[in-house]
Point group: C2
Chain length 345, copies 2
């Protein structure tokens, strides 16, 4: 079983995913080799994966072809779903069992197209799958945070080319989320306004970082982007929880997401990228916890971040948590704003 | 001029290193192309680099051959040394000019050998250069933190194969350092003991993470290592400041560093790696500042971290600040402890 470990000097958790058996030679070359001749995510190969947890299908029966989106447990999970957390100290350190959920969302039966090439209606199905998994996993009181993210391209960490996203339910709140939740709560307590709403107003008034604004979702290049051509997609209407989105709202998001990914692909020639959903933690964690572990409905504002993986993270960035970005976000925004999203390579 | 920018949602600074002129095509491929036929760091090529800031030499004259270690300004600095910080708000954001120092330490005239292959006496010269630059740069009151680090190998971010380290003096305290300084101060205020000293005692008593212990420096695999085969080198005698090390102490450190890099090279076949010196900030910042910006001499304990770059950082890690490590640190320590550092590939 994997283990979560706490470093008291860095104040951060890490998942040690392997209880033993790895040898140095496993690290000489890339570890995950996939036989592309038989993609496990393609229709007809359902028996090669664990059984589906959620599915949207046109026809056919469980764990067979005919699906439009399919959610399955990760075959090599970083965290296991069965067992107790067994929180414990190891001298000055802390540890707990690696309990959590690790799922794969196979976004489409089509092996060839990537998310930016899907129709908006197809992306709505993917977003409905995200919503369904958030609503289901948050019923498990062991989980403090549910993370939804996507790696596109080998350089972004994707081991399988068939377009997919991942869900990880965690027994701790990860540091980036904890900081955002704390910052938003402090801001709200001081001003009785949402920080993200205020940032959105400023970006719309300024205009230099705006990439796309359809009145429902604002897409912009963050002023202090850590990476070149980074994008943030923010719902204009305040909301703390992606899972409360209606189907109509998901369609607007699908259009914003498709449009953003197409602009990225046009400007940078289909770069590798990651995107991460920044969402409030489950409700049961927002009651009676210290401020930085949770968020009241009015003080957090969910959003998505898209980060193209164009530059290497070197010793400086890793050792300091401090990034160097070689392009002005205003210029990156201009390139992305002026791109024609209907253009295809 | 580059600019430092603050993200109020993430509570972090970024350096925007280019004021304009980058185009998307600059990001299609690796940016830094170096003509290896004429290495700018080799003896005889001194005129190709800016003039030396510090040098240890056997013979010859300034900016000519005969040196053993040579420190020069970075030809493409992330931060410029001239000017005022001009701190300002941009609505809810903050910005300041990209003022700082960015220097290169050419570690040895030999183009072929890497740091693990240098003699201990040669590494002492490099460590003396680190000490000299720390002592010089901290006289500049604009600088809040001086970072010394090394990238070895292309995958670790090194653009030039000739063995070198870098120095960056920053007008802010980077997040990783700020957290360590705050954590150590809080621990000291509560217990009147140093956290790192306590961790060191625990690691020596436990023994499972120890890679090397010569009584002067303890080398161990951190319990919550974020990366496989990560190593921490900690002076056994408490000290907050690397720059206060005597020449005799530098020799013990040189031996520990050489030995650690040799073990790493043997176990993982010369992997790419980064190392970072974690040191207290300059004295003038430790007087009269809020706790997390500084450190009293007794509450911080300097150390070095060596991180081999074996795994990709994917969307999960970047989006959460939360890492997955596929090998137990106890097992990584055992492989490194049992390696024969005198073995050469």
């Amino acid at each position: 079983m994997s283990e979560l470990r706490w470093d008291p000097l860095k104040r951060s958790w890490v998942i040690i995913t392997n209880g033993g058996g790895r040898r140095p030679r496993d690290f000489f070359v890339a570890r995950q080799q996939v036989d592309l001749s038989l993609c496990p995510f393609c229709p007809g190969q359902e028996a090669k994966t664990p059984g589906e947890l959620f599915v949207i299908r046109n026809a056919g029966s469980d764990n067979g072809p005919g699906w439009r989106v399919r959610v399955i447990p990760n075959k090599f999970p970083a965290l296991g779903i069965e067992g107790m957390l067994d929180k414990r100290s190891v001298g000055l350190y802390d540890a707990m069992n690696g309990i959590g959920a690790h799922e794969v969302i196979v976004e489409n039966p089509d092996h060839e197209r990537s998310m930016g090439e899907f129709e908006s209606a197809e992306i709505v199905d993917i977003l409905r799958a995200y919503r369904a998994r958030l609503l289901d996993l948050r019923r498990d009181v062991r989980f403090r945070y549910i993370l939804i993210f996507k790696n596109h391209g080998v350089e972004a960490g994707s081991g399988i080319p068939h377009s997919h996203s991942q869900v990880i339910a965690l027994p701790i709140t990860p540091p980036v989320a904890a900081t955002e939740l704390m910052v938003c709560r402090e801001y709200y307590e001081r001003k009785e306004r949402c920080l993200v709403c205020d940032l959105l107003l400023q970006e719309r008034a300024d205009g230099r970082h705006v990439i796309r604004d359809d009145g429902h979702f604002l897409v912009y290049a963050p002023f202090a982007s850590c990476f070149p051509f980074e994008m943030r997609i923010v719902p204009v209407r305040h909301g703390h929880d992606f899972a409360l989105m209606t189907d109509a709202e998901l369609l607007f998001l699908a259009e914003a997401l498709k449009d953003s990914l197409q602009r990225l692909s046009q400007v940078l020639h289909d770069p590798p990228y990651n995107f991460v959903l920044h969402n409030a933690p489950p409700m049961h964690q927002r009651l009676g916890k210290p401020a930085y572990w949770g968020s009241l409905p009015y003080d957090y504002h969910w959003h998505m971040e898209i980060v193209p993986r164009l530059t290497k993270i070197a010793g400086f960035e890793w050792g300091t948590g401090f990034y160097m970005n070689p392009i002005l976000p205003e210029e990156a925004a201009r390139y992305l704003r002026e791109a024609d999203p209907s253009f295809t390579l």
